[in-house]
Amino acid sequence: MAKQPYLKVESIVKKFGPFTALNGVSLDVYPGEVHALLGDNGAGKSTLIKVLSGVHAPTSGQIHIEGKPVNFRSPRDASNAGIGTVYQDLAVNPLMSVTRNFFMGRELTSGPRPFGLLKMDEMDRITHDEMLKIGIDISDPQQAVGTMSGGQRQTLAIARAIYFGAKVLILDEPTSALGQKQQMEVLKTMMRVRARGDIAIIFITHNEIHSKLVADRFTFLALGQVIGAGTHKELEGEDIRRLMAGGAEIKDLERDLAEL
């Protein structure tokens, strides 16, 4: 693989007082790939996201972007470096229109901030086009986000992050709160973003089936450490399930259950 990783994470350690949340985590994220980050509750996935998106500074270790070392002091630093995080709650406002959500905090205006007049027509057009690119044809960009399905809201948050310059898209459990059909919509959206070729996706999930469907590369976390990593080819299905469970063998579980 001659490609250079867009984002390279090297031996990140994050301690909260006596508690070690991350103990030397490394991963490489390539443009045009989906990198699944899997692990049980408490494995350190959320902490890793927060380090990558500039919410927490790592205790030690280094993040590289396009080969250059970077230090994020705030979420804004991370965002400027091209890391767009789509959190589980999506950061959308249900009472506001699709367009107003899309440009929230980054409105297009003519005139001095913050009292410049909104260029609503232009923003409507961009919102409609960007949503269409990612697979949703919204008939009315002025409709309230509250009328959209969970999958569409997810898509809105993803389209917004990409439009405002995200090169690495961190999706925090994007399928976990959705129904079956909407989960498929989100997976399709991810594959459309992947097909662009210039954006890397970090896909945090509990769901091994989803990760096998879309991911090119896997990293498994357990108790703050990487317990397995590799490409889709390198890992067999059984491996994935075993690593998902934090290294526990399903056979052991079967035996334990039988003994009860």
């Binding site: 979420p75 804004r76 959190y87 709650d89 999506l90 950061a91 959308v92 406002n93 249900p94 009472l95 506001m96 107003r100 440009f103 929230m104 905090g105 980054r106 409105e107 205006t109 901030r113 913050p114 009292f115 410049g116 007049l117 909104l118 609503m120 949703i136 044809d137 919204i138 008939s139 009315d140 409709q143 309230a144 509250g146 009328t147 959209m148 399905s149 999958g151 569409q152």
Partner: protein
């Protein structure tokens, strides 16, 4: 796949249905009913030349403070200090005009009294906003503290300096100062001149009866226009909606949530100061009790106008309809002799409760809830 997408499930509606479904629709309907009822019950006296002037005087008063209260509520906060701020600002201006500027700086003019007062009230608005956003306490409690504190301060200052909680018999500054006419003078004289020229607007001796509206009507229109444009057409407006809808997501997207809130607390203080200035320069009096309970009327009008108690949604135009409704009913006792004025409060209670239910339905419809 049948080629249907989820967006197809949102039906396109006719223009009429869209208008009926607008958040202002209920307030508009109530306003029309009230205008018709008051007009009939008063034998048309409520809309004769003097009736229009007197009704618009109180409607404009309500409208000025309710617009400020509504913008703040859309951003998710309350201001219960509006009424006390009116009393404080009126006291401050009248006291300077009677006793001179503080620290022995000499005689006050209407302009200096107004601007020094405005500087104080804006600072108080800033202080209230800063306490709310820094402490994370409910604005209900913080502004309730200022409701009591400011009213008490006003009374104490009156008694210390003036020996009485009222000032009356100030010179009529409108005669001499243009600046006093900006707040206490008349406007829309052309409207009444035209009415007279067309054969109406006559008194018993067939002379022109009413010469113009109170100038506060112009202030109301200006504040409404400003609020409408800022809320619906500017970046700041998007920030106000975002702050009230979901503060955390607004912050995550780079909206300066705290500055928005502090700015709006200053805006309600500004509206209260305009209210007080119009009152002081119109009547040349001040009273420590001025503005009592006005904060609750402002909030009630904002709610009747379609503003959600929980923030994130509301309409400046709806607040206009609400102000007209409340002003007409509050004044109805002067035009309908047989009515007991206390029915006004009964009306406020009933309409308020109905509006809260209606707003809740609107909110659920927008958010797709059941």
């Amino acid at each position: 796949m049948s080629g249907r997408s989820e967006s197809d499930r949102l039906k396109q509606e006719s223009l009429l249905m869209r208008l009926v479904r607008r958040p202002e629709a209920g307030a508009f309907f109530v306003m029309v009913v009230v205008i018709v009822l008051v007009t009939i019950a008063s034998n048309g006296n409520a809309i004769n030349p003097l009736g229009i002037k007197n009704n618009l005087a109180i409607i404009a008063q309500f409208g000025i403070i309710a617009t400020g209260a509504a913008l703040l509520m859309i951003a998710g906060e309350f201001d219960l200090s509006i009424g006390s701020m009116i009393g404080f600002a009126g006291m401050s201006m009248a006291m300077m005009l009677k006793w001179g500027l503080p620290f022995g700086l000499g005689e006050a003019t209407p302009a200096s009294a107004f601007f020094i007062t405005l500087a104080m009230t804006l600072s108080l608005g800033w202080l209230i906003g800063t306490i709310v956003v820094r402490s994370g306490l409910s604005s209900f409690i913080v502004t309730l503290a200022f409701l009591f504190g400011l009213r008490g301060t006003t009374e104490v200052a009156f008694r210390l300096i003036n020996q009485s909680t009222q000032i009356s018999g100030l010179p009529d500054f409108k005669q001499e100062y243009f600046f006093a006419r900006i707040f206490g003078g008349e406007s829309f004289g052309w409207f009444y001149d035209l009415w007279f020229a067309l054969g109406g607007n006559l008194n018993r001796r067939d002379e022109q009866w009413v010469t113009g509206l109170d100038v506060r009507v112009v202030w109301w229109i200006l504040i409404v226009l400003l609020a409408y444009i800022v809320l619906n057409r500017t970046q700041m407006g998007n920030w106000i909606f975002a702050t009230g809808d979901n503060k955390e997501s607004a912050r995550a997207n780079g909206v300066p949530v705290n500055k928005v809130k502090i700015g709006l607390f200053m805006f309600t203080a500004f509206c209260a100061t305009i209210f007080a200035a119009c009152q002081v320069f119109d009547t040349n009096t001040a009273d420590a009790a001025k503005g009592n309970l006005k904060e609750l009327e402002a909030i009630a009008i904002a709610v009747v106008g379609g503003t959600l108690m929980t923030g994130g949604f509301g309409s400046v135009i709806g607040v206009v309809f609400g102000a007209v409704t409340f002003g007409l009913v509050a004044n109805a006792v002067f035009y309908i002799p047989w009515i007991d004025g206390s029915w006004y409060r009964v009306f406020v209670g009933v309409v308020l409760l109905a509006a809260v239910f209606a707003n809740e339905r609107i909110r659920k419809r927008i958010t797709g809830g059941i």
